[in-house]
């Protein structure tokens, strides 16, 4: 049957199950928009292409399917770059379709022309420039396959406008031919045996579970392994929820702002099992001092991650679920009482320093995060931006399940939360989605309140406003002698702003109001915005200074006050 290039785009996408796309139209992509209404696809109009990309990202993280974003050439495509880089670092499957100037103008510096495949080469898993309609269907099919197979990632397809207008005989390409792409590795049983032997002999084992556990749906196997062999589980930021944080074997988050017990356990471990994670510098701190006594088992799908940062004594190149299924029967039941008692001792020390257990009468963010967990009973999708609030959420909201927390872990993209939360809603319309943002990051993609309004997205927005780019200010306080250059930031009246978009909003300035307003927002059927004006100079603790060993922690100082223990601000 005859189809135009633009029709082929929708033929392939809908055939592959795509029913929601995020985007922003413009000149070179117009044929795609013109053909769209004839297909069963919902289009969400973003106010900025970066945000459209984050929406596709949020959609992908929650649904586990490819998030699709369609934008035009030139500035639209360059605006998309940050969203692609975010997805690349966190292994999120995205298909980005960009319009390009006609083939006759390629390389001519035509209006709205950018070398998009050149620009996005380093921030995509793969990309294509389509200059011939006969390649189009195959390329789109390959792009969707590459985005979601193996270690997922963003794939971009740049299509010249004349290709979109051309017509050809269309047939869905049933066969894929990608001789250089081998995303699947079989489980190496010899490596499994070697790993089991190490685990069975371990006295002080620790698991570090990452994002790969969630993507492989390996949470049950992870839990079985932890329980059977009695191994405590530390999680990376993107791994939070791999095992419920209320589980007795959960150590919570590890790394730069990780729990002291998690970092200390890793450092003291004799066998360290990394599962679906990549030993990022925010996790390991000083590599030469990292887990000095540990034999390292590394289960990872991407061969390039094994031995990249931490040399593996046993590398298992496999999908986390398949590897754990093979490993489980080889692992003997064990009990590590002394080890768990030691960890409990570290935990007790931390509890004494916890700001939630101190006397504080001002409004502080950790308390808001814990209250949010109480009010929502932990049964929500949390989307955080980047900075102090992101770490407080990671520490004080107790994540129960995979794909419950969406955050820009690898790239640290401010402005991520609001658009990603919008995308998350379209992937799980029956769930409540909370976007927790700082006053800095929120102002980077604040325009997406327009999308919330137009699409009636019932997202709950909690702004933690401390009048600073807080995490940068914390570094200035600790490492630059409180030279607060460029970090104080003013905010608009968020309540009025929300009202201008038709979104109900509240301002909270004291502790006593937190619970009631969170409850009001949570129970409100539509979107809701809360501005929390919090104490300005509060730091995220514990903290590991960049380049230090992860058990060399900067802790909060707690002092005896008139009515109990108080933080020394």
């Amino acid at each position: 049957m005859k189809r135009t290039g633009a029709q082929i785009v929708w033929e392939v996408l809908t055939r592959e199950g795509v029913d929601t796309v995020f985007g922003h139209p413009g000149g070179a992509i117009l044929p795609v928009y013109d053909a769209m209404p004839a297909y069963p696809v919902r289009h969400i109009l973003a106010r900025h292409e970066q945000a459209a990309g984050h929406m596709a990202d949020g959609y992908a993280r929650v649904s586990g399917r490819v998030g699709v974003v369609t934008v035009t050439s030139g500035p639209a495509a360059t605006n998309l770059v940050t969203a692609l880089a975010t997805a690349m670092m966190d292994s999120i499957p995205i298909l980005a379709i960009t319009g390009q100037v006609p083939t006759t103008l390629l390389g001519n510096d035509a209006f709205q022309e950018t070398d998009v495949t050149g620009v996005t080469q380093a921030v995509t898993k793969h990309n294509y420039l389509v200059t011939d309609i006969r390649d189009l269907a195959r390329v789109l099919r390959e792009a969707l396959y590459i985005a979601q197979s193996g270690r997922p990632g963003p794939v971009l397809v740049d299509i010249c406008k004349d290709v979109l207008n051309d017509e050809t005989d269309y047939e869905f390409p049933e066969k894929l031919d990608l001789p250089g792409y081998r995303p699947f590795a079989g489980v190496d049983m010899q490596a499994i045996e070697a790993a089991a032997e190490l685990i069975n002999q371990a006295q002080r084992p620790v698991i570090i579970a990452g994002h790969g556990v969630q993507m492989a749906h390996a949470e049950n196997e992870l839990r079985q392994l932890a329980e059977k062999a009695h191994i405590p589980v530390a999680m990376t930021l993107l791994g939070l929820g791999d095992i419920p944080e209320t589980h007795p074997l959960s150590l919570g988050m590890c790394g730069m702002h990780g729990e002291a017990r998690a970092n200390k356990a890793i450092q003291a471990s004799d066998v360290l099992i990394g599962i679906g994670m990549r030993f990022d510098d925010r996790v390991t701190g000083d590599l030469d001092a990292f887990a000095p006594h540990a034999k390292v088992i590394h289960i990872e799908l991407d061969p390039a991650e094994i031995n990249k940062n931490v040399p593996a004594d046993v590398g298992i190149l496999a999908d986390a679920r398949e590897a754990l299924q093979a490993l489980l029967p080889k692992v003997q039941p064990a009990e590590h009482r002394e080890w768990m008692a030691q960890i409990e001792e570290w935990n007790r020390e931390s509890q004494e320093r916890d700001i939630l257990n101190a006397e504080v009468d001002e409004l502080i963010p950790p308390m808001i995060m814990r209250e949010l967990w109480h009010v929502t009973q932990g049964d929500v999708i949390m989307v955080t931006d980047v900075g102090q609030h992101q770490m407080w959420e990671a520490q004080y909201f107790l994540h129960e399940r995979p794909r419950q927390l969406l955050t820009s872990g690898g790239l640290g993209t401010m402005g991520y939360a609001l658009p990603a939360a919008i995308g998350a809603h379209f992937a799980a319309p029956d769930e409540t989605v909370w976007a927790v943002v700082g006053d800095g990051g929120f102002q980077m993609t604040i325009q997406e309140l327009g999308t919330v309004m137009q699409e009636k997205v019932p997202v709950k927005i909690a702004i933690i406003n401390n009048g600073f780019l807080g995490m940068v200010r914390q570094w200035q306080e600790l490492f630059y002698e409180k030279n607060y250059a460029g970090t104080p930031i003013l905010s608009p009246d968020y309540v009025k702003l929300a009202e201008a978009y038709g979104i109900p909003a509240r301002l909270v300035t004291s502790q006593e109001d937190v619970s009631a307003v969170l409850k009001e927002a949570h129970e409100h059927p539509g979107p809701f915005l809360i501005e929390f004006q919090v104490k300005e100079e509060v730091n995220v603790y514990p903290m590991v200074e960049p380049g230090e060993a992860i058990d060399n922690l900067i802790r909060r100082r707690i002092v005896q006050g008139p009515s109990g223990l108080q933080p020394a601000w």
């Binding site: 001789p179 250089g180 004594d313």
Partner: protein
């Protein structure tokens, strides 16, 4: 784990690439952004239509080269990568060298060229163009000698390499990706 430059040495790696637009750019961009220390790079057709063969030498330690190979292998258009540093292989490089000569020095240069089994492929009154093929050390030694005359222009291709013995694999085979334990 950090890397100690005093332990670095040179590795020779061969990669088979799909002959498609932009593939070389992907490879080069990867080398640049991963901070790999590439010494030389030679690319051309292989025995299979549509498959190019790239030989490169890289300076580093075992783990750095393992990274370079694995990252390269992840590129969708890269069919196969093989580290032949420690394999029996022939390595050859070609150089074209223009040497300034006069009536007195010309025979001397021609003699050197003979000893090195190189060829003179262009002659003018005041210069000769020498074509030399050999392994890197051999070329270095010839260039060293010729530079006394002196050399006014030179181009080297960078080494290409092929393992010795029976038929090598072509770029179509899936190579086993067992991790080193």
């Amino acid at each position: 784990m950090t890397h100690d430059p005093s332990t670095f040495h040179k590795y020779t790696v061969v990669a088979w690439l799909e002959d498609k637009p932009g593939v070389l750019s992907r490879v080069l961009s990867l080398f640049r952004r991963r901070n790999f220390n590439i010494e030389s790079l030679a690319v051309g057709h292989s025995e299979r239509p549509g498959v190019s063969r790239l030989t490169f030498t890289v300076l580093g330690d075992d783990r750095m080269v393992e990274q370079a190979i694995k990252q390269l292998d992840k590129l969708v258009n890269v069919l196969r990568v093989e580290d032949i540093t420690h394999k029996p292989a022939v390595r050859r490089e070609m150089a074209l060298i223009r040497v300034k000569v006069n009536a007195q020095t010309r025979p001397e240069v021609m003699q050197l060229v003979d000893i090195y089994r190189a060829h003179i492929i262009d002659v003018s009154m005041d210069s000769l163009v020498v074509q030399a093929v050999g392994n890197e050390e051999r070329l270095n030694s010839l260039i060293d000698l010729l530079s006394n005359f002196p050399i006014t222009e030179m181009v080297r291709t960078g080494p290409v390499a092929m393992t010795r013995g029976a038929a090598g694999k072509n770029g179509n085979g899936k190579h086993a990706r067992r991790m080193a334990l």
